[in-house]
Amino acid sequence: MLAYAARRLAAIPPTLFIIVTLAFVVVRVAPGGPFDAEQSLPPQVKANLERAYGLDQPLVVQYVRYLRAIVHGDFGPSLKYRDLSVGALIAQGLPVSLTLGLAALIVALAVGVPLGTWAALRRGRAVDHGIMGLAVLGVVLPSFVTGPLLVLVFGLGLRWLPVAGWQDGNPYYLVLPVITLSLPLAAYIARLIRSSLLEVLQSDFIRAARARGLGRRRVIWRHALPPALLPVVSYLGPATAFVVTGSLVVETIFGLPGTGRFLVEGAINRDYTLVMGMVIVYGLITLTCNLAADLVYGWLDPRVGHAS
């Protein structure tokens, strides 16, 4: 188990290296440059700017320089926000994005797991149909539809909750963004739990537990639910990727000062260092979360042999 964890952990740097290289090539091969938008720029000034940022060097030299800086944790200066380093920009926005993402994951689990379980235990009844109908809707509704609709109803209509903004993490301002982001996750988790619980309930060891005369409650909570939760654990990896991209839209809708806008803005402005920084930070986050999900899965399910 420990060896497996070490091996997986050791695989992260090479994977990240491949991602960085790919991103570097894609970003630099594309036409246009960071100083093209400012049309009034005289050629001499532009050349000076490019020299100042080392963009006049051959690409290979720039690549090696960039890698060397990254290894030392230096993401370089932003080419658009001239006075700020990419590291500072991301450090500013990341707490907001992480708070939003983490809160959404927790809410999704807290809502999805009980609802899915309830639906499975009432299979074929009205409760089941109701919950699964809602889940289909939840999975299908994109956040850029639910977000504005929630704002329309609870913000502008009923005036219960603020429409947008961050206010230093005032939880009141977080309610609508978190609901928007967690809705599809909760729906997906409810569906996962329902189908896996139904499968587990039909297996021999549950029948054996019933035959031993255990109470229904005990059978469900102690014997059926833990193995039924496994698919959810392995879904948590892809779920982080979903949260990361989903927060992009949610931050746009609710005007949150997270990191989401940096990726889009950076790509449009050809702010090479900012885009690369975002790719690295988010690549690292998703890789780590995937690894964590797999490790927890292996720990919970002894059948997964990590020994080899």
């Binding site: 991103a23 299908v140 504005p148 975002m278």
Partner: protein, 301 residues
């Protein structure tokens, strides 16, 4: 196609006897009223989206200065109202549906081709090739792939529809590759494939004549599930301003426009949002039903 497990690829009618694969699947599907209804809704929306804009005689980008941001009114010039430039929202939404559908279909085709070829080659070759190819899928799977699409679409000619569907399709093939690989692994060990190999059928011909026909059920089912995914990606990008560009409408940028105006003109958000949700919902209902009908392993309850 002789020698395939399910018999040849046949349309629902005209199969030999009653046991044809597609015939059975059609019979299973026909029992699902909801899926049939959803399929009907998709066809209806597609037809209206193709014909509607022409019948109304209003262009998607023509401005009506006498009707700026007008609410919906049924017996009137603009059934579903107009936007803040006086453009007819009904026509724009239908046109947007058309663009979203086309991009969804093309992107699904792109992702299906990549995914099926990748999965088949990996599953059929086995060994190190298989391991390497599937590791690549695993790595890509763990990345937030919309990031890649965003980078691709912004860097290469923003608003180009070709770039859009190629970029979306190029990242959406991972799931289908996994499924196809799994099924190919099983098929590669069956006796008829073994027999074909013994009489000297080359790998390319083997995949095309013996593996693909047997995968067709899975491919059709996942294609139907891929379309709403692709439509969703497209709308997502257009919502962020990275996809279809004004004045061309798509469901995504219409929703984006609507969200900006919703305080004073809620219909601008509600009309395109309703079309998008109904479309996505119907596609996923049909896709689920098709998967149940075509994929006997999963077994419809």
């Amino acid at each position: 196609m002789a020698g395939s497990i399910h018999g040849s690829v046949m349309p629902p009618e005209g199969g030999p006897g009653t046991g044809g694969f597609w015939r059975q699947a059609w019979r299973r599907l026909r029992r699902k009223r909801l899926a049939l209804f959803a399929g009907g809704v998709i066809v209806l929306i597609a037809l209206v989206a193709c014909a509607g804009p022409h019948l109304s005689g209003i262009r998607y980008d023509s401005l009506d200065w006498d009707a700026i941001a007008m609410p919906p009114q049924f017996p009137g010039a603009h059934w579903l109202g107009t936007d803040r430039l006086g453009r007819d929202l009904f026509v724009r939404t239908l046109y947007g549906v058309r663009i979203s559908l086309v991009i969804g279909l093309l992107a699904s085709a792109v992702s299906l081709i990549i995914g099926v070829v990748w999965g088949m080659v990996a599953g059929y070759s086995g060994g190190r090739t298989d391991e390497l190819m599937m590791r690549a899928v695993d790595v890509l799977y763990s990345l937030p792939y919309l990031f890649i699409v965003i980078i691709l679409t912004t860097l290469f000619e923003r608003g180009s529809l070709v770039v859009l569907f190629v970029a979306i399709g190029a990242v959406g093939w991972l799931t289908i590759a996994r499924i196809v690989r799994g099924q190919t692994l099983v098929l590669a060990r069956t006796e008829f494939v073994e027999a074909a190999r013994v009489i000297g059928v080359k790998p390319g011909a083997m995949l095309w004549h013996h593996i693909v026909p047997n995968l067709s059920g899975t491919i059709v089912a996942y294609a139907t599930l891929a379309i709403p995914q692709m439509i969703l990606f497209e709308s997502f990008l257009s919502f962020l301003g990275l996809g279809v560009q004004e004045p061309l409408p798509s469901l995504g940028n219409l929703i984006n426009d609507g969200a900006r105006e919703m305080q004073s003109a809620a219909w601008m958000l509600l009309v395109p949002a309703a079309f998008l949700v109904v479309l996505l919902l119907c596609f996923s209902i049909v896709g689920d039903a098709l998967r149940d009908a075509l994929d006997p392993r999963e077994g419809s309850s």
